[in-house]
Amino acid sequence: MEKEWKKQQPDGTITVRTCGWSPPGDHPVGCGMKLHIKDGKLVKVEGDPEHPISQGRLCVRCLTLPEYVHHPQRIIYPMKRVGKRGEDKWQRISWDEAMDIICDKIRHYTDNYGAESIIVFGGTGREACLYYYPLAFSSIGTPNCCYPLSGWSCYGPRCSITDYILGAGYPEIDFAGYYPDRYDNPNYKLPEYIVIWGKNPLMSNPDGFYGHSIIDMMKRGTKIICVDPRIHWLGTRAEHVLQLRPGTDTALALGLLNVIINEDLYDHEFVEKWTYGFEELKERVQEYPPEKVAEITWVPKEQIIEVARIIGTAKPCPIQWGLAVDENPNGVQLGHAILALIAITGNLDVPGGITIGPPAALMGKWRMETRSQLPDELWAKRIGAEEWPALSTAMATTHPDETLDTLETGKPYKLRMGWFNSTNFISATCSAQPDRWYRALQSLEFNVVQDTFMTPTAMAFADIFLPLPTFAEHDGVVLTHFGRNAIFMGAMNKAFEVGECKSDIEVCIELGKRLHPEHWPWDTAEEFFNDQLKPEFGFDFNDLREKGVFQPPYEYKKYEKGLLRFDGEPGFNTVTGMVELCSTLFEAWGEDPLPYYQEPHYSPYSTPELFKEYPFILTTGARAFTSFHSEHRQVPSLREITPDPIVEINPEAAEKLGIKDGDWVYLENMFGKCKQKVKLTKTINPKVVHASHGWWYPEKPAEEPSLFGVWESNINTLIPHKHIGKLGFGAPFKCLICKVYKAED
């Protein structure tokens, strides 16, 4: 890429090259773009054709960024509340005043009740995931950092399962992202097939995986298999769609293993040399013959067998896993079974297969290391750590469901102060039963919210509002998979300023310097990045700006070369040194060491009587091009494309209920109800509905009780708290039941 990253154009416009990695403003993938600034304002965003991954392509969120950054409702100065909570009464204050108030409160709670009485809440999938841990551990000094989604049901389960079973960083399909010449690199092999399991990467572009790469590979000949209850765009172009009953994925994975093992389609050499527990797994999968799995999953037996044969014989055939693994109480077993499928078919860490990050994450691990600045006695007070040893070994957070219990009961101690790091989780984003969280959070005495707009969560709880910049207004480092599989790194460059916004790392440094200066030797974000980059890569932040993108070299078959284990021996960094098809850790934690299928808590089979009243299977959480979870609802062009929350219903089912396309309906179950607009589509089974998440209405009244209409279309009110797996992961966002009826109001 060209060295010059900032250019003055003849008409006075300044063009800044950047990588858009993170909300606010975009979305966590790292696409390359050029930002055009005129008179201090962002006037245009265009794709950067030199960026080796996105190659000039951008989606509508980044293209409409000028509407976001200069939106009249954006909050660009620190504010303090001058009315009661829930009233829209605020006063602009300086950063100094805000920091003085906040530091006084932190000192007060720490001195009188212990630092554990303070809790930091973080949102999903953004750069802040690197910073809300150190904000808690290192700037504030509390052990309680919480991602509030029940069962930690997003990304964390996949990372944890990989840690337990492979002892490695995040497993991502090989899309030649490590190579400047991409698919033409001689070390690379194009996948013959890709299995996309419970994921829609074109819309989700998850954590550094550039979704459009799937299309690049399809153009070169890769074939696709989708496993999904919905037939999405990629599904319509796939060789096979296994359109399964939501929540039965683990049975399907075990059925595929059954065929692959019984038909002797597995990689004997890999299994013998590098796996532990194959015989036990072989015995277990005998319980899942294709006929039985077909009955459970609603996927025809013949299709299960055919797809199993493809996975067993196509070379390479990576499986890309998605939220289907996370948002399911049986998801740990699903993740285990998918990793077993990848491993025994010889697709692990081979060209065009599944790449795995080193166990030692790049740069990103700094965020977890900051916990060592806390004393052990304080760390032991982390909420839910004792009760959920598996989760608290792999995640440095509190247990989300235990945290809600603590807020409700005051046990084992009362939480008094909250810091909401750009998370709007009383909307239908990262919480189950957000109405319950809303009531429980009332008990907090003092709250700080960092965000870009006034959200329902900020309106309900903020005492101090700190304005965040979008990704285009601050410096940062794109770190795919948060360093757990750093396919590429990119420079996020500050191109302009709006108001007085401060980025996450700037706030960490400023607060840290006041409260714990010994942990914060850096004066600026750039100094901090230099210190993170230089020892590992030999270049500093300015060098990264000039490179634009850095693609670290990748080694395949690390397990053969002693590159996974800390002792330098061949093998995996697990308890047995092998891929654990039978998990020693699960057994130690009281869980079945082998994958097994468990029927969803509520389903036509587990609760047949309830299913008569609530005769649809409810799944939720699929992404849209026009929003990032609850973000972007106020951006006019995006809202014009997606004006309403959509529930997808099969026309056959809708007809029986007298429901037409475009009708507003209520979705209701034992836990709650909400209203969404019907889209009729044959791409979903007549017994299944899919509802949208993340909806609130910035145009509706801000004050309580409306809170921007946050309760109207809030699908998460139908998802129960603490319906999670034995190890503490996975909530039933993808496998509940509900009824649907026309909204007459």
């Binding site: 002892g167 790049l362 977890m368 290391e369 750590a385 070994t393």
Partner: protein, 76 residues
């Protein structure tokens, strides 16, 4: 061996001590002997499975000690 003495051993030493004890004693006896519970041992990476002790190389976040999976530990 006291808890203090046990904790002073390095990982290999701890593992070999635990497994030499496991040859003749059950978990409850070993746990009482060193004064550490199953949860405490788990936090420092030791798990008792099928009558023997195993060590998780990536110890994770059970304690404030470095977990072993920091970049600099791996590539030192």
């Amino acid at each position: 061996m006291t808890k203090e003495e046990f904790l002073k051993l390095d990982d290999a030493g701890k593992l070999s001590f635990l497994n030499s004890e496991a040859a003749t004693k059950d978990f409850a006896q070993i746990s009482a002997e060193i004064g550490m519970t199953k949860a405490e041992l788990g936090k420092i990476g030791f798990y008792y499975v099928g009558n023997k002790f195993l060590l998780k190389p990536m110890k994770g976040y059970g304690t404030t000690e470095r977990s072993g999976n920091e970049y600099k530990d791996r590539f030192k």
